[in-house]
Symmetry: D2
């Protein structure tokens, strides 16, 4: 018996003139854009946590979401039902990837050993589902933030016993990811930060966090996991301050602890804006450091101060993301994971389809715009012209480290005042709009 | 003829019961706190730009500040008058240090050569003033953001001619600082960032910025300047995004470009809050990286989104700063530079005295509180107890890199659920308040 | 058997030199300040929701708080146990007032009738407790935001059935408040707003909200409840936008719907800062409109974008609040309700004592500072001098509505440029600090 | 000799496929949309202050903008040149309206009388220009914030002499507006607020501000000016707090001082976002109060905390604005005034054309989308269905004021739990995107 009876068959592409809310209007999986299909470019993933296990609870209200697969009182039966619902959803939606945390796939048991057995059973079932459907695991991760034991951090907990617990949990989540052929493994340190510095030894805590990452890298090598590790920046929430606050903080951390070779970044729009940055900035900063790995595709509300994790529907957002991605040559191991949740009032299962369809259409259109901008070439030419001086004698001598302050002084004294050039921001915004409007 | 006739003689310490607004109530320069005098701990500096050259202009209004020393129509005579006013102020206030930008000390000339000559004349005069008064230069810097030529950046300008101009200016500002015996030299990259990524090659621009810093380091070696270089984080304003956005971004930049040995950080309260961080966080992060150099002592308004550069009067703020500073063992080359400006309505010269006296008293009280908290010892003991587990077998094996994920798994399986410990945030806040209330 | 065995007897005042964390250092209930005791000035209340029913759950984590009174599996027995714990806490802490929502006092039943019976049973028990202890009810309210039926609003729900449900719940909460001799009744419209205007008829929803308030006013008259109604501003969270966003929005609403005579405002610090205002501004705005009723005493974190509801320990905050309160002549029906919660890591019952003691001490000190500033008189004299011109001919003719634009034109033409006066902000901040440092 | 030689003739509509940056791609003035032309719907105005008098100065840098019309050293000749440039620009751009402040049209003179004469001379010249070109004045206003005399407020200044000055200035600005046939007159109280409440009598200041508005209303009646008065909300900047902080605060103020019949609101996007609101919210709130008058069309950067006044190019923004406007039946006296400025790096005159063309195209497309959504009807039907219950018995009895709390109690007891309905936010966002993508 299906959990989504409203959706009889896979969501079809019906084109821009369709008024069917359960059809794609822009996302045509097999359509070729710049030599790859839309599906190959976009590599959409559905997240297990919000989409199947999320409840609609918020700080002021009880769960609202109606989820038929969550009705069985037995936690393990509920977990298997949820797995059924998830793969029904993946295939009806037509996405190629999924992502999960250990504890939303399988329930915490009476003790750690039972938790591990629960996870193994669900992983075995998921493996079968993957084989049946062809859906692949984009990345797995461990939930090291929900349980009370992690109230003061996981790897950064003042108590090494909790560190050990987190490490043990990572071991099994990593092995589960490996068993499922996951292309990556993500660290989001939801409690790896502090509430107050009055009780926090930040230096020590950051060192411990780095230890965990090194231990995970070592374990991966040992078990033969060759997927990509990711670290995911977020500045705050639930903590007052999270150590991985933004791309720069993550890069600094990776450099400081000799981890640049082992981890790339998984970047989320709403985490970027909470840090005061645009997603364009964060993607660019990671890309230029050779560290852009995967993307959590969502949107925030810049007038709200918490992680709203909304579905991305703004085409300026999706076009901007796709421009950075095309500039990088596309994903290698990563994908566009919808780390997004339906609003608390959108409590029916069908709202999950509306939400994902909208996100996929917005990214499909964003991809088309980004490719068109690249094909057009005017934006690239503007940039090349703007920095053309760096190909001249002075520019090269500076960039190559040959010029000294004295050389510059001499140059300035023998030349007139530099000519100013308009930055042409409005012209460029109009240029982008040529492709959007 | 004095510029501050309201203040007949140096500001005196009159103690807490004084109602004289032109007296210190908490700052007693020679008073010993933990083995050093208040003056030795606090190393106050007055900034030249806001205090003597600031006009009160804001984005919606004309200059308001009445400055008798700015009345001469000739720029050079005005500059010498301003120098007189500044040293009168330093000595009447009783501070040991000052800071300047090249262009607020000496006016821009008709061409670069004249600008350099102007600076040299003022430096010579300032050197005499320093000798007469004993006031020392905490640090110097170049203004690479006000002139239109820098509209698109200085070291990060798309045009290498502007880069060269900035580099030439740094050469002379650095030499001026050296001539004046400056203890440090600061880089604040007010335009080193972007307005829009549509016209910006961030990777290239950051590389050029690193080039300038290396060139400055080389030049310092050549001329024998042994002072400390500082870089000053700020996330935005005037730019949409400034590359040195916060401490983490600066450290990442210094690590990436092999500059960690050459620069420390100059950290400002209001820049921290604009970046979404507390000053406590930023100081801690820099200190733990061995990179805390100097402090721009001011305060922002956390409900406003721009750099208000107010004088610091909140004793929680000053006590927190002093705790970090005492934990570091105090300043080596740095000091507390009042990078703060009187409000636009506080247009009389005497308001400058009110403002600085208030800031100095607030820091003096903050120092006393910080020392008392350290002497009391309860806060330190709380921290030691909280992390005590890391001295045990498990903790040491993890911290020293001997434990693997498998070891942690084994440990967890053979032990019960970790015991949770209260973080005691409220207790600790009350403990701090014991010393404040 | 007590729920707080760590606290053997009522918290005592031990004075500033005490190092006992379970003693008052500043709050001396019977101490006279300006002719009233501290207890009479401050009228502290403990809130039932955070303190006894809060769990420590947050958007990323499960409950953490250890609450022995919440262990009984039967909801009604749990409710009675909680009531016992609450009154034990009130009397050991030594506060005179409490506040509650209907649904945190008594659990929701199988249907509305049972919910009402549950509430009646708990109210009867609470009444006995009040008589035994002398603790009084500052205000009651109905929880119209937690249950899923209210997901799209209570009085502002698109479905009138939900409106009716909310109205029925208000009826019983109001009657419960009346039965307990409550001095007030509060409306906080946690869901009275919207998530998106795409599905919202704001005009209609605001009208319905006004209807509910009029119905409550009418019902109060009918049952003889003469307590004060309050409305509580908050701009957002859980909603994207809440209609009662700040004091100005509440006043506009009350004026528009002819409710100014019937409701005053209950103002919370953290709600003010979420709206971008200082608490000083919000209290002043309400006071000047004759509408300041009661205060939810807490503190937020201005660098975080959600309602952290921390305990107020900052003495600048408490002194500022007390200055507004003294300027109003003190509370009539209202009080200082600690709408604050211990941090999620402060999971032990004793942390509740630390938290409240800290808040009470901070307000006691704030009261002393505020009274001292008033007694000193310099601040008041500064204000009187600053506006003295309005007692002159021109000022009076303008203020009394006799002057026209033409009159002003004539005045300006016959007088020189106005003389500017320094706003003396730094001087005034120092003046305040004379009483704080 | 033209000031904009790059633009030989009026900007033409060339359609979406044009790559000419100096052509309209979406704005086709005469195109009929829903029975009116684009020009009639949109009523674009160019603002005098940013576009012709703005300099590019920012808090950290000198003027950058190259403006040939600003080169004459004589202020009055410069003013006439600027007027020439403005009308050249209006006609080449093809807009129907302009807006001005008194002091950007004509320079401040040696005394008030001279300032008035200067204004009269420029008004006379502008009147001729208007007749020659057919361009009309959307609204005029007085600059009561730039001059130092207004440092502590204009109508809210502690000194009645300054109040009188402001009033006299309003008299002449109003008469100038009348002389030029202006359709409206706007009050934006840039300094009508405070920097600190320690020196501010807010109650008195707000009363004085209301006095000024009443005096202006009276004067308008006397001189026969029948245009619409507007008040413009902004929460802060340059002040810490501005009294007209948002739409709700303005409405509260107008209601409190009996001004609702005389003023409508002029609403600006960037002011809305600085207040923490969407422009959609602010327009809706004003419209529902019958108080939406005119719009300052710009865009802010929600990650920056100051008024960036950027040109509006985001089509979601423009479509949302146009939906509110169409729902109101379009402008009566108001229009879309580009209160926007080119970026400081866009220093060439031609950038002004790029900027305005981009804004006009974005609004034209937004208009088309808004009209299409209305014609489609699905959004309206969704809303009607959602609130259908209010046409039933229960709904009507509540809305019409016949139901009591007791009635609601009875209703709830005799009915089952209300049925919840999905809010369908994602579905609705997709619906909007059908018209945007």
């Amino acid at each position: 018996m299906p959990y989504f009876p409203e959706v009889a068959s896979p969501i079809a592409y019906e084109g821009p003139s369709s008024k069917n809310p359960l059809a794609f209007k822009r996302y045509d999986a097999g359509k070729s854009i710049g030599g790859k299909t839309m599906a190959e470019h976009l590599r959409f993933a559905v997240c297990y946590w919000h989409t199947f296990v999320g409840t609609g609870q918020d700080p002021f209200g009880a769960p609202t979401l109606v989820r038929p697969w969550m009705s069985d009182p037995d936690p393990m039966r509920r977990a298997f039902d949820t797995l059924d619902a998830a793969f029904e959803f993946f295939t009806k939606l037509g996405v190629g990837f999924w992502c999960f945390h250990d504890r939303d796939l399988a329930p915490e048991g009476a003790d750690f050993a039972e938790s591990c057995r629960n996870l193994e059973r669900l992983v075995a079932a998921a493996k079968v589902k993957q084989q049946e459907t062809g859906v692949r695991l984009l990345w797995g991760t461990a939930n090291l933030f929900s349980h009370p034991r992690y109230q003061a951090g996981a790897a950064t907990n003042p108590d090494p016993h909790v560190f050990a617990y987190a490490a043990a949990q990572v071991k099994h989540a990593l092995e589960a990811t490996h068993e499922l052929g996951g292309l990556g493994y993500t660290f989001w340190g939801g409690r790896e930060g502090y509430e107050t510095l009055w009780n926090t030894d930040m230096k020590r805590e950051r060192e411990h966090f780095a230890r965990l990452l090194h231990m995970a890298v070592d374990h991966a090598r040992q078990i033969g996991f060759t997927g990509q590790f990711y670290i995911e920046p977020k500045p705050k929430e639930p903590t007052k301050h999270q150590y991985d606050s933004d791309v720069a903080a993550c890069l600094n951390f990776l450099r400081e602890f000799d981890l640049m070779d082992h981890l790339k970044l998984n970047i989320e729009t709403n985490h970027a804006t909470l840090a005061g940055h645009t997603i364009q900035h964060e993607l660019r900063a990671a890309r230029e450091a050779g560290a852009l790995g995967s993307i959590d595709a969502n949107a925030g509300d810049e007038l709200l101060g918490w992680d709203t994790d909304q579905f991305p529907t703004n085409v300026y957002l999706t076009a901007t993301i796709m421009l950075e991605l095309l500039a990088m040559g596309g994903f290698r191991t990563g994908g566009l994971n919808f780390d997004a949740k339906v609003r608390r009032q959108s409590h029916e299962p069908v709202d999950l389809f509306h939400a994902h369809i909208g996100g996929m259409d917005a990214f499909a259109k964003g991809l088309e715009i980004a490719q068109a901008i690249r094909d057009d070439g005017r934006l690239d030419r503007f940039m090349a012209d703007r920095y053309a001086g760096w190909s001249g004698d002075l520019g090269r001598s500076v960039a190559e480290g040959r010029a000294s302050l004295d050389d510059c002084d001499a140059y300035v004294r023998s030349n007139a005042e530099p000519v100013r050039h308009s930055g042409r921001q409005e012209f460029l915004e109009n240029l982008i709009n040529e492709f959007v409007l």
